[in-house]
Amino acid sequence: MIFKPLFAGYKAGPWGWNAGLMPVEEFNDRLKSVNQEMVQRGIDALLVFGVGDSTWKNGNVCYLTNGNGTYARKSVLIILKGIEPTLIGNFIPRDLHWEMRNSTWLKDIRIFDNLGLGIERILQSSGKGVKRAGLVGVGGLDVRSYAQIMEILRNINIVDATDVIENMRVVKSSNELRIIEKGCRVADMSIRPVTGNLEEGECEYDLIARIDMESRKAGARNFRFLIASGSDTEMSLRMPVHRQLKKGDTVLLLLAFEYWQYWVQIGRTLTVGNPSEGQIALYRGVLTAYEETLKCVRPEMKAIELAEAIVDVLDRSGYKPYLNSDFRFGHGVGVSIEEKPFIDDHDVTQLRTGMTLAIQLGIHAPGIGGVLLSDTLLLTRNGCQRLTQSWYDLLRFADAKS
């Protein structure tokens, strides 16, 4: 099955995919791999579910269709052996399925408000006697749709095949890496006007609004953020509020940008005015730990092993008591803002060369203040390479003044 773009030379803008950045061959390869995996597992049909109104909640469908998940609140990609896949969805507003047609490589897109009915029709009309179906991401469906779909599939042997797609997504291709690297440039560009340029009296809202504007002008289509500012007791991350920045404040920023449907993450710590000695000392301490953390990253280790190694680093530097019970030191980034692997205390996914990880280290506690550092990394054969390259500004700022 070979797909060609419906409109040659169609430039969808950051809203859709761009043929130049993500060639059709790559999508044919992805579908080929899915087909191989289906043969291996003895699955006749693969149903990939997309739920929600954002690309990052529809990662699996976006990844396989070259399409934008925001057009349908619920969609299913039906892959049958030897036939072109069909995407069905309840497109709301319905006129947007025109746009979907323009953004995807798929030809067969149909509107069904009742997904169960749609699946039944497609399976019947294909003429293939489906005995065993693999479901991807069905857990995200709402209860009513789930019940309908299970009723339709009652005579079919069902297996959970979510890992088929998730395992494919974790390691990035050279095309994907090119986009993610550009996304990291967007992140660097967006944060640059802010660093070293914080003014007293500016609101948290203003600060986020500035970054938002910079990022959109640099090409980001979506922007998510968390901020913290103020004294040492106000250092937990949150949405921005109408708080004016005061001299001596520490500001923590955790930002994620979507560029051509791929997410990147960056986190930095800033001060308003010259940092105090206490701030510098804490910052240097955490930065040293953070740099050690980056050295811990090795392919072939498990995610949980990396988390343990980072806890060890924090233990040695004396920051372990400030860890939350539900800490997470990072996660994969890609079509989803957070995807496998998760660097926490229970994910046993093996890290592999070619994965992109957002690593994050935050220490914020009453009595000591706050520091947050985060970067998007590419796992290489020997360790990792930092893709976001913004300088760690607080330190440079402090050095210049002291």
Partner: protein, 382 residues
Amino acid sequence: MKLGQKEEFEWRKGKIRSLMNQNGFDALLIYSHPMITDMWRCTATDMVYWISNYDLLGEFALVVLPLKGEEALLISNSWDLRRAKSKSWIKNVKVSKDVWKESRKLLDELGLLKTRIGLSGQEFMAVSIFETIKESFPDEKFELASEMTRNALFPKSEDEIEIYRRGAEINEAGFQAILEALKPGVTDIELQAESQYVMRCLGAEDMATLIGSGAHPLAMTSPSGRIIREGDMLILEPNPLYRGIFVEICRTVVVGKASSVVREKFGILIKAYEEAVRLMKPGVTCETLAWAMEDVIASAGYAEYLRPPFSRVRGHGDIGLVIEGNQTKLVPGVVLTLHPNNYFPETGYMALGEPLLVTDNGYERLTKMPIRLYSTEREVKE
């Protein structure tokens, strides 16, 4: 006027409790999920935010509201506890990795486990969450109560109406920012950036900005990086979220001079809008309003463009969609967004609409924005 006071909390809580009383519920679990802290907030108010003033960050939030006794807010992310405590109207805030087990414990302590318990927010729940609930509550059964809870959203309190007014001001500022930046050669993303900058500085918590553009736009879409050209038509919705309420105002802008055809077709929309608001008063059904608008458009000769894929609903609010078949009656204090937005084969899709408050004997506008077709040429002249 100071918003978000204790009285507002008591008022909202009282409203939900009286509904619980009417429906025979002894306790209510209100669930919020990040899924609705996104574009979904346009169409569905986050009930946890509404009742507790806590806007969810992280994975779960659950409000346990007994008919009698102290209510509690349960959240799953420990790092957000301090903010939750300072922001929430509910004093009893607890953090737990398993909010469902924790809620069972709370209900048990209150002696409410064997009573009628309602569950609100099920429409946002994934199957996997239902499985978790089954594990945490093996012997209990919940009754679905989302619809009941949503009935607490109207009539609006004075606070909420004030929030609407401020939200409308933010929306207008966002719209003005777009008008100022609008010229051939800019991209719609830049326009979005300008308007979001202004709106965020004014206190918007989130934005679902929609900008459709083109010589012949087909639908409201998110900005796509498209370059605006002379003669384009823009259909705009800055859509800020302010204190948990999305305020949607749609307008149409022509880049350059509006042609007589565009002015004429937009006149149909204005007439449809005026026809609908003329009827707007308590006792009128949503359906009637939809018909009023569609009659005008149909009698102008566009009956075949009234339905998808060309055009959609004529408005929305807490009492449902303004659409054929919705026989819910307006009551004083309801806020309803009316928009006759329609596709015309000569011009493309055009938009006009705003939220309106139903009063005892009519309606009240919540924004001062003029109801007219905008064009960059005219704005320059003024």
